[in-house]
């Protein structure tokens, strides 16, 4: 009997103590037996298998039907667009080896690679791309993201069902030459071609299997990898595509993607050496990670902004710019990023993050001390008709997530302390929150975020165009709309950037949104994953990585 009690006590004790023990010791001890990368530090492991955490279960592997980041990660390995994106070089040739752009910026001619091959050995042709682009905008495909191809001539009309897919401004001149005509010059268009909605699909396969072609044993792809296995909710396995044009420079033989939505679960699997790379990290365990796994923590700039939207169609923010400015100034972004979010997020004083060919707006008050900002905020707050005796009562709406709640609590206390505002936090489940936000009836302040689809400031600014379906603050500024519309037609990059810069300045003056911080990607990467290079849009392609000896 005593023995049973003792064993039970021991088990309980070890459960408690395990929280303080050296993390993942079993795996690291094993790894520690060999120097990572061998004596040279570059020696490769005999087994080239990568295991990646990948967030949610993909909706589909059909590039024209999916929309999320997890799907993009998978499709980036399976498919290749006309262009590709390198972390350091930016847009580089993909399935097309070269291209020419007409002087007016509306006609693109792409030259395909002669050695481009599908995973079944068929040649990748200009016709494949023309078919893929037409299929993507065809309403019958039910693509969620075909709108990305809007710059192509007639794309919007085809998507709306007003023109047939054949009317799309795409033409295969011959097997290796593709012409794409645009509605207007679109400087970011080469980046769009690296989006899944612009990937090619293998016509005979799609026609043979219909809506169920994107499955193991059927899916034919033109990227560095081909689909080997897919166990729903468990894992997706890809193996090297031996026909890929750059297969000789690809090192990893097999990649396993694991859909793990819970970040704590993912961290535990990483610590148990079941993953080489995580998708994300739990906010609350960053301190522990910094202390215990500092060499494996990779934090890098991510093209996205976390902001608070203000519903300007309803009181108290309707026609009350002083109040909106006061709230904006009273948010201490330094404290928030340093002590609340803590992953190295960048305080956002302007709305657009550091996008390509664009000079960010930095308002004058960004150089002030927080005391100076608060003093100005108080002045504006009183000018708006509020005071400590007559405080603003406002609701912050956020979707259920620990991080959003923590940030909302911090901002509420900043507003309370600086201005005496009484804040009520309203938490809603994701889909409910989206609907509430969109109806613009009851929302006052809501949390929001935007991650770029393509590396261009326009992607952020277009949200706030009065006709945008994403304009949840309900802001309507004709001057802003005119600047954006002019920028959309402008072929001169410098002039275009200047127009967008002016537009962003209007946002900062009118404050329909309060930028809080610019995102960073945060993940753990095992020391034996070689050649890992952070990308501003988090495009991490397996073909660029390698597994070092360990």
């Amino acid at each position: 009997m005593l023995r049973v009690a003792f064993l039970y006590a021991l088990a309980c004790l070890s459960l408690l103590l395990s929280g303080c023990s050296d993390p993942g010791s079993a795996g690291r001890e094993a790894a520690g037996q060999t120097k990572i990368g061998g004596e040279s530090g570059r020696e490769l492991a005999a087994r080239q298998v990568l295991r990646r955490g990948n967030g949610a279960e993909p909706q589909s592997l059909d590039p024209h039907k999916s929309e999320g980041v997890p799907e993009s990660n998978l499709q980036r390995d399976l498919f290749e667009g006309l262009t590709n994106d390198d972390p350091e070089l930016g847009i580089v040739p993909g399935a097309a080896r070269a291209w020419e752009i007409s002087a007016d910026g509306t006609v693109y001619v792409f030259h395909m690679r002669e050695n481009g091959r599908w995973s079944n050995g068929d040649p990748v042709t200009a016709q494949d791309f023309a078919y893929g682009l037409r299929r993507s905008v065809d309403p019958a495909t039910l693509s969620n993201y075909s709108i990305m191809l809007r710059p192509i001539l007639n794309a919007e009309k085809v998507i709306a069902g007003e023109l047939p897919p054949e009317a799309l401004g795409v033409r295969a001149i011959d097997d290796l030459t593709l012409e794409i005509r645009l509605e207007a010059p679109t400087p970011y268009f080469l980046g769009v071609l690296n989006h899944s909605s612009a990937y090619p699909v293998h016509r005979p396969t799609v026609e043979r299997y219909g809506g169920r072609w994107a499955r193991p044993g059927r899916l034919v792809s033109n990227g560095a990898y081909r689909l080997k296995d897919w166990v729903m909710q468990s894992h997706i396995v890809m193996e090297r595509n031996p026909y890929y044009w750059d297969n000789d420079n690809t090192t990893i033989d097999e990649v396993w993607f694991y859909p793990i939505e819970n970040q704590s679960t993912e961290l535990q699997r990483y610590r148990a050496d079941a993953l080489d790379m995580t998708y994300d990290l739990p906010f609350r365990q960053l301190g522990w990670i910094r202390e215990n796994l500092p060499d494996e923590l990779v934090i890098s700039e991510y093209l996205g902004v976390y902001y608070y939207g203000l519903n300007v169609t309803q009181p108290p923010f309707k026609d009350n710019v002083e109040l909106r400015r006061a709230l904006n100034l009273a948010v201490d972004r330094e404290i928030l990023t340093r002590q609340v979010t803590t992953a190295g997020e960048i305080p956002a004083y302007g709305y657009v993050p550091r996008a390509a060919n664009y000079e960010q707006v930095v308002p004058e008050w960004a150089a002030w001390t927080q005391e100076e900002r608060v003093a100005e905020a108080r002045r504006l707050y009183e000018a708006a008709g509020y005071s400590r005796d007559n405080p603003l009562k406002v609701q912050i709406l956020y979707n259920t997530h620990e991080n959003h709640r923590t940030i909302a609590v911090a901002i509420a206390s900043m507003w309370k302390e600086a201005l005496g505002i009484e804040v009520e936090l309203v938490n809603e489940e994701w889909k409910v929150y989206l609907e509430t936000r969109r109806t613009k009836q009851t929302t006052q302040v809501f949390r929001a975020g935007w991650i770029a689809d393509y590396n261009d400031a326009y992607n952020f600014l277009e949200i706030l165009h009065s006709q945008s379906g994403l304009n949840d603050p309900g802001w309507n500024n004709p001057q802003y709309d005119a600047l954006l519309e002019e920028a959309a037609r402008e072929n001169d990059l410098e002039r275009r950037a200047e127009l967008m810069h002016q537009a962003e300045q209007l946002v900062m003056e009118d404050v329909p949104v309060i930028p809080v911080y610019f995102y960073v990607t945060k993940r753990l990467v095992k020391p034996w994953v070689g050649n890992y290079r952070p990308h501003v849009q988090d495009f991490i392609q397996t073909k660029d990585l390698e597994i070092l000896k360990h």
Binding site: M1, S25, E57, S60, G211, Y258, T265, W430
Partner: protein, 307 residues
């Protein structure tokens, strides 16, 4: 008995129909739709999608369509997992859930009945107190707390077992999820068995058996165990329901690709057909299992009459 089973089976049809009706209108009443996303769809694209999934029809018409398809065994297409039908998803997830839940139930019965019997035979001894203390712990600690602790100890710290997933499908991947799922059931069954065994051992027929000089082992195994198991068998219905609902959490924590994960993801994504499919499937399963439990109960206790 066959007539009884048939009557119960037919009686289950209206129950299922009520379940389908309630579930259908409840999920539709939830705010937010399957196509709502941060990056909102252009209206024409959303209209296409709504038409393709018949969401543009009046709700009653949609319900009629759903019931008609269901009667033909068609659960419809998944809104979220676009290349798959709900039937395919259930067919993929259920064997995994069955393996997990079935193993947990078998483990719970074996360990629970044994521990409860030992505790009852040594009533008020240290063994009894120890078994009851462990049971109390098992009941008190929810499995969403227990599971991460087990992972931390056996996967992260000791490296003995996998931290999650199903890997190559080998048994070692099942150990931690099964234990996490079985622990509360072991505790309940142990307590039930102990109480029942103490009561039965005090009854006249046991006293008679002992007076006849039968060995204690025979008294326990041949005479006492059958009536002792009656409350345990009664508990199997709720236990199955508990294992099914518990597996939703456990499958999420361990990344086990069972039906539970589809249920959670389906509800969050407003994947109407997927949620309905899992609800109807689980509902039918629970009804069927309760029927089986009643039949086993009647077999164990001759006093029960089929009516």
């Amino acid at each position: 008995m066959i007539r009884y089973a048939l009557t119960r089976f037919l009686g289950a049809i209206p129950t299922l129909l009520i379940l389908v009706t309630l579930a259908f209108f409840m999920i539709r009443a939830a705010p937010g739709g399957p196509f709502d996303a941060e990056k909102a769809l252009p209206p024409e694209i959303e209209a296409n999608l709504r038409a393709a999934y018949h969401l543009d029809e009046p709700l009653v018409q949609q319900f009629g369509r759903y019931v008609l398809n269901l009667a033909q065994g068609d659960f419809g297409p998944s809104f979220q997992y676009k290349d798959y039908s709900v039937t395919e998803l259930i067919a993929a997830g259920f064997p995994v859930s069955l393996r997990l839940g079935g193993s947990a139930m078998i483990l719970a019965l074996l360990v629970g009945v044994t521990a409860g019997t030992i505790a009852a035979l040594r009533q008020n001894s240290r063994t009894d107190h120890a078994v009851m203390a462990v049971s109390m712990t098992g009941i008190s600690i929810p499995n969403f707390v227990m599971a991460p602790l087990l992972i931390l100890l056996f996967a992260v710290t000791l490296g003995w077992l996998p931290a999650g997933g199903i890997g190559d499908g080998s048994l070692r991947y099942l150990v931690l999820p099964v234990i996490s799922l079985a622990l509360p059931q072991i505790a309940y069954i142990a307590r039930l068995t102990r109480g029942s065994m103490i009561e039965v051992l005090r009854s006249n027929f046991i006293r008679t058996a002992r007076a006849q000089g039968l060995p204690e082992r025979t008294v326990i195994l041949r005479h006492a165990l059958k009536p002792v198991l009656l409350p345990v068998v009664s508990y199997l219905g709720p236990a199955t329901a508990a294992v099914i609902t518990g597996s939703v959490v456990i499958e999420q924590i361990f990344g086990v690709p069972g039906l539970g994960r589809y249920f959670v993801q389906g509800a969050l994504n407003r994947d109407y057909t997927l949620v309905m499919g899992v609800v109807v499937f689980y509902g039918a399963l629970i009804i069927l299992f309760n029927l089986l439990v009643d039949l086993v109960y009647a077999w164990l206790d001759p006093k029960v009459k089929y009516a």
